[in-house]
Symmetry: C2
Subunit: 332 residues, 2 copies
């Protein structure tokens, strides 16, 4: 992982983070024409490995062909985050971040550091898709293609309630929370585990609870699945970092309070939108509506095993569906 | 509301509640042949009014025709409950209750107090359906007809996880919980409200969040709906009482650990099973499987507005669908 120094970085809300930084990872080589770069932002709680499973020889994002930048995001624990910023912006005092802040920082990395003027593709899912839409609306001249996979330009009303109930509440009601000034992240692990319990209730399609899908993943029971997978996903995270990421998603809006169809109408990227059947977080019917506002957008609903969890690539079929969607976007 | 004194009531787990009581309400008159009685147990957190909307002249459960007994249940705050039982069984020390305990107490009310030998119908939804199945398996000679509406003989794996995550956890992790020995129920209201938030996330079909359904109910936003409806439903409840009800649902099993199909196969009641499309709590596909084990059972999936919330009768169309299901059961 590399680090791009942003200096004193002024956020859209007016706070300035001193010596801000964006940690990033790249795969492949920027070609002489500088036209093979792909920007692939991450999702809430995601890490490089969660995206790198889709960056490999023989897959759509082949590093022999593309220069893939995983730009990270504020609040992920590697870029400037509550967990790694000194006072007066440490821990519970870290300022709120907007999706636009991430994208502005990523844009600086791409232009100032790599000297790239146009991107072959910006893509992402979930919170990564929120960033992708922000890229396409904010910097249309730079984004040749964009792909939203299991995403949207902003969260739906249900998803806003999900972010508050599943991510925020279990943390801020944990007695060890202390307004974000806990001694160490694991002090708040009861809250992190409760997040996992709520995720298990809301994200996997009901089929996970009725067939042998959990067994295929190596879990013998619902209890083992909840503990091993969802609690496991959460307990390694820092509570303040998660809140920063959730709150940026809560305020995501490439239209900045204006008309969303109008903002989407300004997108010039060749746009590919793929939604997964049963994704309650970013439902296919919403994706279809968004696609209608984007000139020339290609929309497709794909039936997969895992609904919103498809991009986790837990099953070979899910991984294939995601790789197919990326291939489709690259050939647009 | 009337009260049936159960005396020293021995629970299936071995505890004996001294001077136990079952509070109940009746509508209509028991006829001379004593063959027009209907037993209608309640759901988790339910009250008489929630069932009485279906007991009225001109509706299927017409009190001019049927003698409708709303028998209540342990833990509902009127029958013996943590909130109304003196030491040593008060509050957090109230013993766990099984669905079978409710049904045994209800059976005593029906036989000892009313002298009824056969019931025209036992029906219920959700936890009320768990009790209905227990009635039909435990006392087959008494149950002429049974109806499970948005119910099942026991909770699905998802529903078990729901009961733990949505009902148990928000209460037992509330700092005011104190192992059930809080001074008053409202001390734990933050936990009760969190229950409401999780319910809002998991029970209404996604259509509630996308169309004008909340507006039709008089709520201007998701926030108002969550606060006005779901928090409102929970904050009047006693936390210990809710836990008792949730834990009885968690252990519901008319087969008592044996083969469920075999237990259901012993049902002699004319059985009507109605599931609602989009009910994640008691999914249609599960209902259909259960129905196959019950001799002569009629199974039907009904498409309604509100999924598992259909029985709340929030919309005239939902109320009609429930009344139709009851009428169907009575004519079986």
């Amino acid at each position: 992982m590399d680090t791009f120094e942003l200096g004193n970085f002024r956020l859209v809300n007016g706070y300035t983070i001193p010596n801000a930084r964006l940690a990033y990872t790249t795969h492949g080589t920027l070609n002489a024409a500088r036209d093979n770069a792909v920007v692939f932002p991450n999702f809430l709680g995601g890490n490089d490995a969660a995206l790198e499973m889709y960056v490999a020889e023989g897959m759509a994002l082949d590093p022999n062909k593309y220069f893939v930048i995983l730009p990270g995001q504020f609040g992920n624990g590697f870029s400037s985050s509550p967990s790694n910023t000194p006072p007066p912006f440490d821990r519970g005092a870290f300022p709120p971040i907007a999706i636009a802040d991430d994208v502005i920082a990523q844009h600086r990395l791409v232009t100032e550091h790599f000297g790239i003027e146009r991107l072959a593709l910006v893509l992402g899912w979930s919170v990564g898709a929120l960033q992708t839409y922000e890229w396409a609306v904010r910097f249309p001249q730079m984004v040749t293609r964009m792909a939203s996979i299991a995403g949207a330009p902003r969260p739906s009303p249900w998803t806003l309630h999900w972010l508050r109930t599943v991510i925020e509440e279990p943390i801020v009601t944990d007695p060890a929370w202390n307004n974000g000034f806990y001694a160490q992240a694991s002090d708040v692990q009861a809250g992190l585990r409760r997040q996992g319990h709520c995720m298990a209730l809301t994200l996997p399609p009901l089929a996970y609870y009725h067939g042998d899908l959990m067994q295929r993943l190596g879990f013998g029971s619902v209890q083992d699945f909840v503990r091993g997978f969802f609690e496991g996903f959460m307990v390694g995270q820092d509570p303040n970092n998660l809140l920063i990421q959730a709150r940026k998603a809560l305020t995501a809006d490439p239209a900045q309070g204006g008309s969303l169809p109008e903002a989407l109408g300004r997108i010039t990227a060749k746009t590919t939108i793929v939604a997964f059947t049963g994704d309650v977080m970013f439902p296919p019917q919403d994706n279809e509506v968004d696609a209608r506002s984007i000139p020339g957008a290609q929309y497709r609903e794909a039936t997969t095993i895992s609904g919103h969890l498809t991009t986790f690539g837990l099953f070979p079929e899910d991984r294939q569906a995601v790789d197919d969607a990326i291939r489709e976007a690259l050939s647009a």
